[in-house]
Amino acid sequence: MTRSREAAVGLLSGLVFAAGLVLSGMTDPARVLGFLDVTGDWDPRLALVMVGAIGVHFTWLRLAPKLLANDLPAVSLAPHAPITSALLLGAGIFGVGWGLSGYCPGPAVVSLGLGAREGSLFLLAMLVGMLAFRVYTSWRSRRSDGEELTDAVASCR
């Protein structure tokens, strides 16, 4: 694939994604925390956003093979890879962080663009967490003499 096509598609999907996050209220941590507050004064609106997004994308993925020429390599994912402890632990840790502040990665990036102070601070800390993960995995793979990549590294995109 040409670099310019990747660049154009990437930029455009990023722009549309940002607009979707802002319009749906995902960049508003108060709204997100209200959605996560299932036992309190629950605000279900973001559930509709998620269902809507999945509905559109699910439909597209089923139409795509009929509509698209096979000129691009398939997505390299391993959806049927085993469910590992790394997946469960990572998702669990992510949820705790998300519940503490109401920010997840996409809205954090958009918040920096919006000039939101809290979101930008969160983004900085999140990048530190990602770097920490990188350090942790390289330490793990060095310890096992690099025989085998850890599951986490292997499944990283």
């Binding site: 990747e6 930029l11 994604f17 802002v22 507050d37 962080g97 663009g113």
Partner: protein, 130 residues
């Protein structure tokens, strides 16, 4: 629009619109610095800048929260999404649309721990964490 964006990324570049994965890629090998992920993240950023310039995004004013809370939360999200190979967009939207068992399980887990965290901070500790 989020579903549209994810579909666009798939149609045009066969990419998954997963934010944590592409962000993590930026912190990695230089070979990936000029690919789809960089442009996707730039698009997100630029989208924020444009919206702030031409519209007034609705943001509910919260009482300012301590920087320490945001820092701890950020580090947990950064580490957790990399260890778990995805976040709300990659697992929650793209993965579930693909009916990936890994993503469905991951989404159930992070939704549950997030709801439990809100329960703990709002109701058990009376908003002690902000």
């Amino acid at each position: 629009m989020i579903g549209l964006s994810a579909s666009l990324a798939h149609a045009g570049a066969r990419q998954v619109a997963g934010v944590s994965g592409h962000l993590g890629g930026l912190l990695g090998r230089p070979a990936r610095w000029f690919g789809f992920g960089t442009w996707f993240v730039l698009g997100l950023l630029l989208g924020g800048v444009l919206i702030a310039a031409f519209a007034a995004p609705v943001v509910t004013r919260l009482a300012p929260r301590p920087a320490l809370l945001l820092a701890v939360s950020g580090v947990l999200v950064g580490f957790g999404t990399r260890l778990g190979s995805g976040c709300t967009s990659g697992h929650g939207v793209c993965g579930i649309s693909r009916m990936s068992p890994r993503s469905i399980v991951a989404t159930l887990v992070f939704m549950t721990t997030a709801a439990l965290t809100v329960l703990a901070s709002r109701h058990l500790f009376g908003g002690a964490f902000g």
